[in-house]
């Protein structure tokens, strides 16, 4: 029996990118459609094409034909299904969606029907669901209204592009509606088409879809009522399943195939989409780029420019041939703008491989000196999109973004969007509300009685996981186009006023080949800016960090001693463990250091072999001789991202493009089924090269373990510059460095309290907060000490701090309260933080005095205090603890300093004494917990870092001890007994007993 429905193609299909009105991902829908034997499928999300890139990619991977479209909401709330026939249609769809998104009379997108007058070319119109402009009047038995609407659409789209849409979901009345629609179509000479208005791939996803509907309406399932669909018929159905419902209208089923055949649009962009950089008269982009580079060359390579000249000519040639000069000029222009404004910025990513980028100041790295290979930026045989991303001082990134908008205009520039997704854990609250139970009930720990609701909730949370929920904050990816953006991709208003985002996020833009430039905020660059300024002030002449050459032995000593708290990228505990073994001696070693402590090399077990080989404790070996060229520079281990591509090429004959796809698949952590095709291709390719099967399999396992969690070498090199510069500041200007670090928190690995104590151990004086001396932010005082700023009083706004600064000095507490009008709670915090100690009045007395003041609504009425009482003064520990709690920073002595004599008498060592213990000795210590880590790569081991008055103590907790130690918050005192372990210059205490110290 032939299946007469086998020609059916679903043309009305919602994915999860209908944002809470669709339960399946584009990939799930494509997979299901393929399973049903469809060779094409349409995606018609509500007023959006968010899912299009994923949909297209999934379809191509299965050799299916993706049809793009959308279901548009008109101002009268009716729905219209539009499908893209060709490029004109895509442009019109993008414009229509952009218009609908900018026109939101009721907070939701709504397209004024008049917009259809001249934007229908290349679009096929299906008349929509029950809520469509034709079906809705028919359901009210308003025949004339239905005829009017259908005629109106026919006039706009033409009879060949207007189809009366028939849907049958086995609701009462559906059969009648289908009949009436078909009659109307015949009457008007229009074709009909059957669709199923799909909202989920499989029937069993109905619960998930109902849940999303309830979440969207902020209601429980019980209260959702009619907003939930009455049955589960909205899944992706084969033609065979639809046959019984549309038996009388075989032409409506057949029309789907005909329409699918007409939609020939493919989504693909090219580099020619960038705006034209305005070059000076007489120069085209290639010529101007060459001139700029030639001008910069003598400066960068004085004396002996021959090699640089040759390389420059080569690069310019390849860049010109790939039509990328314009692109490079655009990026150069951004960098130039930032520099003239004094905004620190530098290129990241593969740009650092390019001499052109170095000469233009885009990259801080001399590629000739540090053996960076231009072909990793752009190769002659693979003119793929190179990525030039800019790291910008985080506090001033906005200015650069504004410059882009000013220069190219809002019609040609927009930000990439981001999607906030449901996360399994946070989704619990939504699920609880939908099921009308409390989250506590769902969380009830230790209760193992089977509970239907709890099981159901857990399943639903898992299903919600990773589904997009709404658009998030943009993160700095910018899209620039020569043609108006809205012709290329829908644009919608962003959360920030006056800002627009395109409907795709960064990865999606990359997938469809639309050029984006990432403008990323990097706090450390802001720190370098500020610290550099402070150094200049101190020296009395402008100071340029970029003048530093990377050859100061003192900096390498600092790194090798792991004295790196506060230093970019190498301050973590894992780095501190590794640096003394690596013993960096030159710039290239810093590049290795930051590449080594990454999830990829750690999971791939590359760290220890690398270190052993470097120290000569183990011979460099390769799993196969073919790996030598790719891995020689890293002693046979995989350290850099691009080595994955090279290994795949050399061992299995992958093209660079295939290698790149492999790397991405490994990095995406998509699980075995996504990796399997790559493994098969890899093993087959390796076999063709005569590599033994087990060897090839072992190499692939290494690649898998390595994943994509690593830096490209060029990126690491660019970051290494920042490592060096921040280390240099720490070494020579620790006070300026600390000031800047404190002003740009939160950042890095260590909390401010640790930064402060570390600086104090480096002889930096830190002055407490003082309402009479502190500025808005932390400052470097004339005497070289760091003064904490009012930004360290939590809850104090900039305006509040401004009022303090404007009104000081204050005669006393009453004066402070009256003239700043700060809320009582904040004044209390100031007192406790010691900011009011300047009056010489004891803190407790000040608090008591504050308590006697009457705060009226906005008016401050201050009676004269009636009587004075004697209050006990805060002890030093109390004061310190309060300061710590309020500011996150304490300027007083370390809590343990006062007890050291007593502790020593009881046999407790401090961190200095511990470091002198021989390997294998038993020792006991006490310290404040500053970091507790349980990295997933550590096989159940936990790492605790304790701090005492003289430094840090590394504690290793074996898995069997972990359950004994339940207190995971930082800040409390911990007593540890254990065995001292020396390993290549690092001292660890392997715990045998540990106990938190109760505080009296």
């Amino acid at each position: 029996m032939t299946d007469r429905g086998s020609d059916y193609i679903e043309l009305h299909c919602h994915s999860c990118y209908s944002l809470c009105d669709g339960a399946s991902t584009p990939a799930e829908l494509i997979a299901r459609a393929a399973g049903l034997g469809m060779d094409a499928l349409a995606l018609t999300d509500h007023d959006a094409v968010y899912g299009a890139p994923l949909f297209v990619a999934a379809a191509r991977a299965r050799g299916m034909h993706p049809i793009l479209g959308a279901e548009l909401t008109l101002t009268d709330d009716s729905h219209l299904t539009l499908l893209v026939e060709n490029a004109t249609g895509w442009r019109n769809l993008c414009r229509l969606i952009s218009m609908a998104r900018h026109h939101t009379p009721r907070g939701r997108p709504a397209l004024p029907p008049a917009a259809l007058d001249d934007h229908t070319g290349g679009l096929i119109c299906l008349t929509g669901c029950r809520q469509g402009p034709v079906a809705a009047p028919l359901r009210r038995l308003d025949m004339p209204g239905a005829v009017r609407a259908a005629t109106w659409l026919r006039e706009r789209f033409g009879p060949e592009r207007t189809f009366v849409e028939l849907q049958h979901h086995l609701h009462p009345g559906d059969a009648v509606l289908v009949r009436r629609l078909a009659e109307l179509a015949r009457h008007l000479g229009l074709h009909t088409v059957a669709t199923n208005n799909v909202h989920y791939a499989r029937r069993d996803q109905q619960p998930l879809h109902d849940l999303l509907t309830a979440i969207r309406h902020r209601t429980s399932l019980d209260d959702a009522g009619k907003r939930l669909r009455a049955n589960s018929e909205y899944y992706l159905k084969s033609g065979g399943r639809l046959m019984p419902l549309f038996g009388a209208y075989p032409e409506a089923l057949a029309a789907t195939r005909a329409i699918a055949g007409r939609c020939i649009f493919t989504l693909q962009y090219g580099l020619q989409d960038l705006p034209c950089f305005p070059t000076p008269p007489g120069y085209d982009a290639d010529g101007y780029l060459a001139r700029l580079c030639a001008e910069a060359l003598p400066c960068r390579y004085p004396g002996n420019p021959e090699r640089a000249c040759r390389q420059l000519a080569h690069e310019l040639h390849i860049i010109a041939r790939a039509h990328l000069s314009n692109y490079v000029l655009i990026v150069w222009d951004l960098v130039r703008y930032a520099r003239t404004q004094g905004i620190r910025c530098q290129g990241r990513g593969s740009a650092a491989n390019s001499l052109v980028a170095y000469l233009l100041g885009i990259s801080p790295i001399d590629p000739l000196r540090y053996d960076l290979v231009f072909e990793r930026f752009l190769s002659a045989e693979r003119p793929a999109l190179p990525d030039i991303d800019l790291d910008i001082a985080s506090d001033r990134r906005e200015e650069v973004i504004q410059y882009v908008f000013r220069t190219y205009g809002p019609a040609h520039a927009a930000m990439a969007c981001t999607f906030s997704t449901f996360q399994e854990r946070s989704a619990l609250r939504d699920v609880a509300r939908a099921l009308d139970v409390t989250t506590e009930h769902l969380l009830l720990e230790g209760d193992h009685t089977p509970d239907r609701v709890r099981t159901l909730a857990a399943t639903l949370c898992r299903q919600l996981n990773n589904l997009p929920r709404h658009l998030g904050q943009h993160n700095g990816g910018m899209v620039l186009t020569r043609a108006p953006l809205a012709d290329r991709v829908p644009v919608e208003p962003a959360a920030m006023p006056g800002r627009a985002v395109v409907q795709w996020d960064k990865t999606m833009l990359e997938d469809v080949g639309l050029v984006k430039i990432d403008l990323l905020g990097l706090r450390m660059l802001a720190v370098l800016s500020e610290a550099g300024r402070l150094v200049g002030d101190q020296r009395g002449e402008p100071f340029d960090l970029d003048r530093l050459t990377f050859d100061d032995p003192a900096i390498y000593q600092l790194l090798a001693a792991a004295d790196t708290i506060g230093v970019f990228q190498v301050e973590s505990r894992a780095q501190a463990q590794m640096l003394p073994r690596l013993r960096p001696q030159q710039f290239a070693d810093i590049v290795v250091a930051i590449s080594l402590i990454r999830p990829g090399p750690i999971q791939g077990d590359m760290v220890h072999p690398y270190l052993r080989r470097r120290l000569g404790q183990e011979a460099v070996a390769y799993l196969h001789p073919r790996l030598k060229p790719a891995l020689e520079e890293t002693l046979g281990v995989i350290l850099f991202q691009e080595q994955v591509i090279k290994v795949a090429r050399d061992l299995a004959g992958f093209t660079p493009g295939e290698g790149e796809r492999l790397r991405r698949a490994l990095g995406a952590g998509k699980g075995p089924e996504a990796i399997a095709p790559f493994r098969d291709a890899f093993l087959a390719g390796a076999a063709r090269n005569g590599v033994a099967g087990p060897v090839a399999a072992a190499v692939f396992r290494q690649l898998e373990a390595f994943g994509g969690y690593s830096f490209p070498k060029s990126h690491a090199a660019a970051f290494a510059v920042i490592v060096y510069q921040s280390a240099w500041l720490k070494r020579y200007y620790p006070a300026a460095f600390l000031t800047a670090l404190l002003n740009h928190q939160p950042m890095g690995f260590w909390p401010p309290a640790v930064l402060v104590r570390d600086a104090r151990r480096h002889q930096v004086r830190v002055a407490p907060l003082d309402i009479h001396a502190s500025g808005m932010r932390c400052v470097l005082e004339m005497d070289g000490s760091v003064r904490l700023g009012l930004n360290y009083v939590s809850g104090l706004s900039e305006a509040g701090a401004g009022r303090i600064i404007a009104a000081r000095p204050f005669a006393g507490l009453a004066d402070l309260c009256r003239r700043t009008r700060l809320p009582k709670g904040l004044v209390e915090r100031l007192i406790l933080a010691g900011a009011c100690d300047g009056w010489g009045t004891e803190r407790r007395r000040l608090l008591w005095e504050l308590g006697t003041f009457h705060y009226a609504a906005d008016e401050l009425d201050l009676p004269i205090p009636g009587s004075t009482v004697d209050l006990p003064a805060l002890t030093a520990d109390e004061a310190r603890e309060l300061q710590m709690a309020l500011l996150g920073v304490s300027t007083g002595d370390h809590v343990l300093a006062r007890w050291r004599d007593a502790l020593t008498a009881r046999g407790y060592l401090d961190s200095l004494a511990l470091a002198r213990c021989p390997d294998g000795q038993r020792a006991r210590v006490i310290g404040v917990v500053v970091v507790h880590q349980a990295p997933p790569t550590a096989k159940g081991f936990h790492f605790i870092t304790l701090e005492d008055e003289s430094g840090m103590i590394n504690v290793i907790v074996r898995p069997y001890l972990v359950p004994l130690y339940r207190e995971r918050r930082g800040g409390h005192l911990l007593k540890v007994e254990g065995i001292v372990q020396h390993e290549a210059g690092v001292v660890n205490l392997v715990a045998t007993r540990l106990a938190p110290l109760a505080r009296e």
Binding site: H171, P172, V176, D210, A230, N231, P244, A434, L435, L456
Partner: protein, 84 residues
């Protein structure tokens, strides 16, 4: 005047090859189905008690207009309404 049973009353139903009711016995009489006027499907309430029902509004050869449904979960037929 029509009669309505909110929980329906159990019914013996014979179905044809397409799972459409062909005949049923009610109050000791055997009714054969003349034609199905309308059929619809309900599937809701999965989070508490899933109601998954196939409804048929039909006319018997004896001229009776009734609404019956098949409870798919427990495979049981019920008579919900008899129209006058």
């Amino acid at each position: 005047m029509s009669r309505f049973w909110s929980d329906g009353i159990p019914l013996e139903v014979t179905v044809d090859a397409l799972a459409t009711p062909a005949a049923f016995a009610w109050r000791g009489r055997y009714h054969t189905v003349d034609r199905v006027i309308e059929r619809w499907r309900v599937d809701e309430g999965w989070w508490k008690r899933r109601a998954w029902r196939e409804y048929f509004q039909l006319v018997t050869h004896s001229g009776l207009l009734v609404l019956i449904y098949h409870d798919v979960r427990i495979d049981q037929w019920r008579l919900q309404r008899v129209y006058d």
